[in-house]
Point group: C2
Chain length 275, copies 2
């Protein structure tokens, strides 16, 4: 699609954007998923496009919860399949009782097939959710349809990039929820038991590293709690700090050439908004 | 696409989202444009999804600049055509010397034709940029191609939803730039002469109202200046204020049902992030 220099300060973010645009052209990602990606990009930009210390804490605790769960299930939508099928497959290898379930808001048989194929190609066996037979009560939309071997019986659901209605419906079923969401103000982030406020691929890399590190240890018998409020407040504080004016330069309202601005370490250089 | 209740607190934002998703399915909007829309949505959400007082000042000054310009030209990309062709046509009727020029980063003959048709159907005559013959120097990409009757000879360019490289290239040509951009930290927002930090359709509605209000007045001979820095700093301060923790509720880390939270007037209720 677009050529991006690896030296671009926002290389990784721009690569993911291109990856997702490509998946949209292949019918894996829907337009609404692209818009959602953009929302995440804006929050990630304000967060500094890196895993914050509080997100790292959230990742460590989430890995602990995954290890101690009876049946953890990771919900996969089009964006997750497009951006992270490989990582999802590696998670499932590290944690044999982890179910991987396709769950789509904009569900068509063809789209389910494509996403199932992409996960299978990455090594996921079995891919759940291809023929869902159970419904989550009080949730109008195809997102309510779940697999009898997966989300329906899960005690822990890991839901990256989820909508608020579904998060709340899963909560009402008494499931423990780990969300991955860059917007700490979203209903999903606010209503999950534990929210990893981090970009999807960074969060999954963190979970993979943590599960690898603890692979030889016995699973904790009871997962420890965590204050999701404190995690979210920290993310919100970082977003506030990320939204700060550039250094003021006196005089010259209309320079012919734009002066180079000193960039502080925390904020990546902005890329181009190409339409 | 999706049914949205008019009583939804984020009705307008969700309507625009659906409109853009539909335009993407029609080949008017590219995937990158959808992602850009999402970035804008996040900033608009933090801004409270309404025109701020400083954006209103920016709109008034921009209208003055448009009235006093010799040849103002409004640059139209896929997102602008999808969301605001009608408003663009009304602007051109109010301001007869305003040129309307199609300019695309992801340019294909078919896409140019579709966008030209949509503008023409809304009443824009002539649609510039369909057969561009001039190039903006030092700008690799199709965005450099401009119309000899439009941007090439413009003294004022109005560039909604623009990328930073092109903004800077237009500045180097000595053109006065009015940007419409929801991200006050973007290179476009930072390098324009005047940035309206507001959602596109609200900003255009504001410009239309201002041009109607002043239609009988003589055009100002010399446009007055404005501190873009001050406009941007105000927007940044509002974004910081928009990112604030929800009210703390004591105890109950895992309520079965989510308690209704008091919302302060400034922040709209968050919609669903559906993928």
């Amino acid at each position: 699609m677009t050529r991006i220099s690896p030296r671009h300060p926002r290389y990784r973010s721009l690569l993911l954007r291109d990856e997702l645009a490509r998946a949209a052209r292949q019918g894996i990602v829907v337009p609404e998923g692209l818009i959602a990606q953009g929302r995440g990009e804006a929050f990630d930009y304000l967060l500094g496009e890196r895993t914050t210390p509080s997100a790292r804490r959230a990742i460590r605790r989430a890995a602990e919860w995954m290890r101690s769960a009876r049946r953890p299930v990771l919900s996969v939508n089009g964006n997750v399949a497009a951006l992270a099928s490989d990582r999802v497959a590696r998670l499932a290898k590290l944690l044999p009782n982890l179910g991987i379930e396709v769950n789509l808001f904009h569900r068509t048989p063809e789209r389910v097939r494509r996403i199932g194929r992409r996960l299978a190609a990455a090594g996921v066996r079995p891919v759940l959710g291809l023929r869902p037979t159970v419904r989550i009560p009080h949730l109008p939309s195809d997102r309510a349809r779940v697999d009898a071997r997966g989300i329906a019986v899960a005690d822990l659901c890991i839901i990256p990039l989820e909508d608020g209605d579904r998060t709340e419906a899963l909560r009402r079923l008494g499931k423990r929820i780990v969300a991955i969401d860059l917007n700490p103000l979203s209903r999903t982030a606010q209503s999950a038991d534990l929210t990893i406020v981090d970009e999807l691929t960074r969060a999954l890399d963190g979970l993979l590293a943590e599960l690898e590190r603890t692979a030889q240890l016995p699973a904790p018998r009871r997962p420890r709690g965590i204050s999701n409020r404190a995690l979210l407040d920290d993310a919100i504080a970082r977003i506030r700090a990320g939204a700060r004016p550039a250094a003021r330069r006196p005089g010259r309202r209309r320079p012919r050439r734009r002066a180079r601005r000193g960039r502080s370490a925390g904020r990546p250089r902005k890329g181009t908004g190409r339409r």
